[in-house]
């Protein structure tokens, strides 16, 4: 055996290899939460198959006292509970690391590695002796490794038992069996293995103002707080849990205590074409309405997104991106819908798109999406992804401003209509290029014909080139005006930086970590995370101010880079792409390698001057 790794406290990663449908999610969630409660920055990435039972599934946990919780593939320890993937799981452990395996059965000699330490725990035997039912034996094997890891990594057992008490408060039988299984794994490790390992945990105070939450729940919470009353959707991974969460939140907060009636209406549509239609119908009528979907759903919604854009009807569309094209890999993450959403539908269309980086921004941006949709009377996309949406993240506790008033945009009241000589839907426009709208049921004078066919600024049908263009030009102005109201890009400048790194959404943590790593290697880089489209002036300035900007994103075709080239004066040749699109969350190592392999940049002083003339 090789010598074990040097002492690493609160700075390591481990991976759990399981079979799906065996209760491993519950065990892994328990581990992650226990570490979170020890006050240590932690992340968990669930790498699961598009399947319900029987296929390989992995869970990765990374702890970092420095807050580096992006995904890493450098595993110090592997819990190898799946015989089917055992060989490759063992291969992934770094030299000097550990493999925990079920020693009920002997280890095949061919699978042994000389440079890692194998720690055998007879999980199956322990559980077969302690539990009677076969299903329970299977489930408890996974719970037992929580105990073993608690012993090996120094997880606070008081925290673990406290969590069990909370989790199973109403199911004492389950609490007992879970506690028993954890104790089995813990005691065995204490008796037979050297505990703790040189990778271990120590309580910190870094998470006391934080919560552990997934982006889809946070999105649903944002929609609830924004006052959305109508949601229409069609089930699709990985966005389904947005509506699951919205449904349970509404049941809790929007049910009339006396009558039991609901202050919301959730429609499970027959497909995404209908889902967006329902959202448009509800918004047209004055409700705050949204849909949540993933790429394939956006493809279907394209038709009516164009209608909402042209007829100027608000709509909030949450896209929890997954790997495309086609069915792609439904349980893997990607940022492949950037261009699709920015220009969704036929003809000249451009949309407002928000890019949250974590569950906290999912919450705040969801609220923002409704304000923008109603202010600009247009569809607004929020592009989350599977990694943000379905994994648990440590984020600062969410705050709500009780003084918040929803921005309903320009909607005429009965009194305003009464006082008007005549109402026209698409004029006059305000400084944002927006005209006032009216809602059905308010006043006869507000009636007009909403149409997706050619219309003039009065709302009447037209086939006249001038009248058509007049409206289309205003829509373009309106979209441009939105750049001042979308969330500003986050920009961090570093002394001596010659290059910039621009990124988006869930790449945030990996890119920040990469910037530190690059700095340690003598490459200083400024950071920009774009949070909204249309791009604000600060985005253009960032590109203008750097000779070379690396654009980091999770898709094959450099969609963010393309959008920057299309929508800003930035010159294509000063941009370099760093792309990761295999479906797993981005790692800092990929960014570092991507940047270093494209350095040094050629002398681009001339291009800056050229661009400034534009």
């Amino acid at each position: 055996m090789q010598q074990a790794l040097k002492l690493k406290v609160n700075d390591f990663a481990f991976k759990l290899a399981n079979v799906n449908g065996t209760g491993s999610a519950s065990a892994n969630g328990l581990l992650m939460q226990a570490i979170f409660r020890m006050g240590i920055p932690v992340s968990g990435k669930n790498l699961f198959p598009s399947n319900i039972q029987g296929l390989p599934t992995w869970y990765e946990i990374r702890v970092s006292d420095r807050g580096h919780t992006a995904r890493t593939a450098e595993y110090d320890l592997m819990v190898a509970m799946n015989a089917e993937t055992y060989a490759r799981d063992v291969k992934e452990v770094r030299t000097g690391g550990w493999v925990i395996y079920d020693s009920t059965w002997p280890l095949a000699a061919s699978l042994v590695r000389e440079d890692v330490t194998f720690l055998g725990v007879p999980f199956a035997k322990l559980c077969n002796d302690a539990f009677v039912e076969s299903r329970e034996r299977t489930l408890m094997k996974n719970i037992a490794y929580v105990g073993t890891l608690a012993a090996l990594l120094d997880i606070d057992m008081e925290i673990v038992s406290g969590m069990l008490k909370e989790k199973f408060a109403k199911k004492p039988a389950l609490m007992e069996s879970n506690a028993k299984a954890i104790r089995l794994g813990y005691d065995y490790a204490k008796a037979h293995l050297e505990c703790p390992l040189t990778i271990r945990l120590k309580k910190m105070d870094a998470t006391k103002d934080s919560i552990l939450i997934d982006g889809n729940t946070a999105t649903a919470l944002g929609c609830l707080y924004a006052g959305a009353t109508v949601a229409a959707w069609y089930p699709i991974t990985p966005s389904t849990s947005v509506l699951d969460a919205f449904t349970s939140l509404c049941a809790k907060y929007r049910t009339d205590k006396v009558t039991g009636k609901r202050k919301y209406c959730i429609l499970q549509a027959e497909d995404e074409l209908a889902a967006i239609g329902m959202v448009i119908g509800a918004s047209w009528n004055g409700a705050r309405a949204f849909t949540s979907t993933s790429g394939p759903g956006i493809s279907l919604m394209n038709e009516l997104i164009g209608l909402a854009y042209y007829a100027e009807i608000p709509a909030v569309i949450v896209d929890v991106q997954r790997v495309g094209p086609a069915t792609g890999m439904p349980t893997r993450t990607q940022q492949g819908d950037i261009l699709l959403c920015a220009y969704a539908s036929h003809g000249d269309t451009k949309h407002i798109v928000l890019f949250p980086a974590n569950p906290a921004e999912c919450f705040y941006f969801a609220v923002k999406a409704f304000d923008l949709a109603e202010r600009f009377q247009t569809p607004v996309f929020m592009l989350s992804d599977l990694d943000i949406g379905m994994n648990d993240w440590v984020i600062p506790r969410l705050e709500w401003d009780d003084g918040y008033k929803p921005d309903r945009g320009r909607v005429l009241t009965r009194e305003q209509l009464e006082a008007m000589p005549k109402f026209h839907r698409y004029s006059p426009e305000d400084e944002l290029g927006v005209a006032a709208r009216t809602l059905p049921g308010v006043h006869e004078k507000g009636s007009f014909f909403t149409r997706g066919s050619g219309h003039n600024k009065l709302g009447g049908y037209t086939e006249s080139p001038d009248e058509y263009q007049e409206v289309m030009d205003r829509l373009a102005r309106k979209h441009r005006a939105a750049r001042r109201l979308v969330p500003k890009a986050i920009i961090e400048r570093h002394a001596g930086a010659k290059i910039g790194i621009a990124t988006i959404g869930g790449c945030d943590l990996a890119v920040r970590e990469a910037i530190e790593a690059l700095a340690a290697r003598g490459v200083a880089a400024d950071y920009m995370r774009i949070r909204g489209f249309p791009f604000g002036d600060e985005v253009e300035d960032f590109f203008r101010g750097h000779e070379t900007v690396f654009v980091v994103e999770q898709n094959r075709d450099a969609q963010l880079k393309s959008l920057v080239i299309l929508e800003t004066p930035t010159l294509k040749r000063k941009l370099r792409s760093v792309l990761a699109y295999g479906g797993f969350p981005l790692q800092a190592a990929q960014v570092v390698e991507g940047v270093l392999s494209q350095l040094p940049p050629r002398d681009t002083a001339a291009t800056v001057a050229e661009e400034d003339r534009e």
């Binding site: 006052g227 009558t259 202050k263 919301y264 709500w400 006869e444 007009f448």
Partner: protein
């Protein structure tokens, strides 16, 4: 197409309704359809129905898809909000609109292309959801705006203007609606306004989705010999089997019919629809009997018309969704947002 706009002057004989509005107040802009189009007759029946129901124009939302039929909402009740949406997508838009505001009256006008081809799925699901709306299919068996292709309601053997015979079996919206739980199913003929107006009124007051399939000949592309959707063919084969009399809430029932020949159904607002059976053995409340009756007669080439099936006890969408009585659009924001204290409490479970 009517080139001459009717003068706005009111004829003294135009009686105002309870709102003080005359039938002219329920009209819209001039029709741009072909002269003699069945759809214009249906528009006239719709105008009449709203006038007779004393509907406040602004409390009506009129929606449509794409096609000749879908142009017609501009031709009635100009004081109502209209939404000419996308081909086959009106049912979803109407569903969302209804979800947001349950107080308005909803009328959807569609055609056989819009409802039975591109929008077949959406129509079926709106029926299943039992969205409260009057849904009219102006059924002419042909694509008019694209100049004469067969639609999904064309009968086998029916000939196109160019003489080609249709070989694919038709989708019959009435039989389809019955099979998926529709609670109000009617068929009528654009040329039979006396039959159509009471059906439309009953459909507007029906609690749930009211499907009215109206045979509406296309004078330009499907009114020739050999077509089964022509005026001549429809007049010849129409078989009125059940007539609806609409009795508004609190009105006295005056008409007198022989015992056993009528069935009364009370609508949710208290109005009564009296169904007068021409065929004595017909029971409009028995779904399977209605289906087999229609099948039997349709297989003989007859076109049974009337308010064919009615069930006021179905679960309407809002009932199923258990929404509050106040329209969702009128709930104040304070009732919708739980506030910061609740958020802090909620997050305790995420520690």
């Amino acid at each position: 197409m009517s080139y001459i706009k009717k003068p706005a002057a009111r004829h003294p004989s135009l009686q105002p309704n309870k709102l003080g509005l005359t039938v002219r107040d329920y009209e819209g802009s001039m029709s741009t359809l072909c002269a003699g189009c069945g759809h214009d007759s249906i528009t006239a029946a719709i105008v009449r129905a709203f006038y007779e129901l004393d509907t406040p124009p602004h409390m009506l939302a009129k929606l449509s898809g794409i096609g000749c039929s879908s142009k017609t909402p501009t031709y009635f009740v100009s004081g109502a909000h209209g939404f000419n949406s996308a081909h086959g997508r009106m049912p979803a838009i109407a569903t969302g609109a209804s979800a947001a505001n349950k107080e308005l009256l909803y009328i959807g006008v569609s055609g056989d292309g819009d409802s039975l081809s591109i929008g077949l799925g959406q129509m079926c699901h709106a029926i299943r959801r039992n969205v409260s709306m009057l849904y009219i299919i102006e059924n002419n068996g042909v694509y008019g705006l694209t100049k004469g292709q067969f639609s999904a309601s064309s009968d086998i053997g029916s000939k196109s203007k160019k003489g080609e015979a249709n070989t694919q079996p038709p989708i019959d919206p009435v039989m389809l609606a019955l099979s998926i739980g529709a609670t109000f199913v009617a068929r009528s003929f654009s040329g039979d306004k006396a039959q159509l107006v009471p059906i439309l009124k009953a459909g507007l007051l029906h609690k749930g989705f009211a499907l009215v399939d109206v045979i509406s000949p296309c004078v330009t592309f499907n009114d020739h010999e050999g077509s089964t959707k022509s005026y001549v063919h429809t007049r010849k084969h129409q078989l009125p089997i059940i007539e609806a009399d609409f009795v508004p809430h609190k009105s006295e029932i005056v008409a007198d019919y022989p015992e056993g020949s009528t069935t009364s159904v009370t609508m949710h607002d208290g109005s009564v629809v009296r169904l007068r059976k021409v065929a004595a053995d017909y029971d409009p409340s028995d779904r399977s009997a209605v289906s087999s009756y229609l099948q039997k007669h349709q297989s003989k080439g007859e076109i049974p018309t009337g308010l064919l099936y009615l069930d006021e006890s179905g679960v309407e969408m809002h009932e199923g969704a258990k929404t509050v009585d106040t329209p969702l659009t009128r709930l104040p924001f304070e009732e919708l947002c739980p506030g910061n204290a609740a958020l802090a409490k909620f997050q305790q479970a995420y520690r």
